[in-house]
Symmetry: C2
Subunit: 179 residues, 2 copies
């Protein structure tokens, strides 16, 4: 799976590069590890943000955190920092010999979105895929349009659809891979 | 629902009072609002922690945050800070005329736990309930034993069961109340 910090939008719809959030890395890596995700790409083109993210990863994977909490090390070890999604896609292609399906999630309803039972059944065929989450106010419309599949927004019994990306990612992994 | 900061255990099993975490309040309030939860009790007996939690709430409900992000205000408005669970239970009893069922969630397998489909069907009967989440390394064994119902741990297809409380709460609300 991947967490995009660019290209995403701010609350006014402007394209921005969002800041890396420590707890996104922790919560999403722990959920990824729980649900058997192979790798968690943290995508940002900003040099200082890549350095920050790598410092967090190093603390838990090789630094003092790895001894303090080995379970956390197992989760954070899944994190790989990349400049863009293409880099992640190339890596998956090299490892699996097949280009992954790009599966995008968004809180806003999209023209052609797939439900979770539908995509879960499709995943069972075993094709590699990359599940892409957006930070801030979500990925740009143009970026979403390049995806192979867009999943339905997560909606509860109310009209409120403003979950954190940490919550949405956890729920989506549970819907697609939970027992 | 309620988030307990006491009585919980640390990584060595000692009983502690954990610190309030800003993103727990945000993520869990947003999930609560999404899934139609009536109130989100943040439970801590510590005076300084209650003041900190109330400052966060005030910022988003009546302070500058309420104008900056009215959607966040809707979520954080559900938060109520209490000294202990009894206080929350009494309030629910006063509002509904009935003592709520105390439903506890824990990452560790418990002797008699109920699955999500089972409790979802039970909830449909409409009895008030309070869904209780623990911080740190989870609620004490003694506290869990006082609950009416313990829900199954959230387990994925791996043997790793170390989700954040933010992730676990989101998944549990989705399993119990999602569409």
């Amino acid at each position: 799976m991947a967490l995009m910090h660019y290209p995403v939008t701010d609350k006014n719809g402007e394209v921005i590069c969002s800041a890396v959030t420590n707890l996104d890395l922790h919560d999403m890596a722990r959920a990824a590890r729980t649900y058997g995700v192979s790798r968690f790409y943290v995508v940002t083109p900003l040099e200082d943000q890549k350095i920050l993210a790598q410092r967090i990863v190093d603390h838990w994977v090789t630094g003092p955190g790895s001894k303090y909490n080995p379970k956390r090390k197992q989760a954070i070890s899944l994190v790989m920092i990349t400049d863009n999604l293409e880099q992640a896609i190339r890596e998956i292609e090299q490892e699996t010999g097949e280009a992954p399906e790009i599966v995008v999630t968004d809180a806003r309803p999209q023209a052609k979105s797939m439900d979770y039972a539908g995509y879960r059944a499709h995943m069972d065929k075993g094709k590699p895929c990359i599940l892409v989450f957006g930070t801030a106010w979500g990925m740009t419309k143009e970026f979403i349009e390049t995806a192979d599949i867009v999943l339905d927004p997560i909606i509860g019994p109310t009209d409120y659809n403003h979950l954190s990306v940490r919550s949405a990612a956890s729920i989506i992994l549970d819907r697609l891979l939970g027992r």
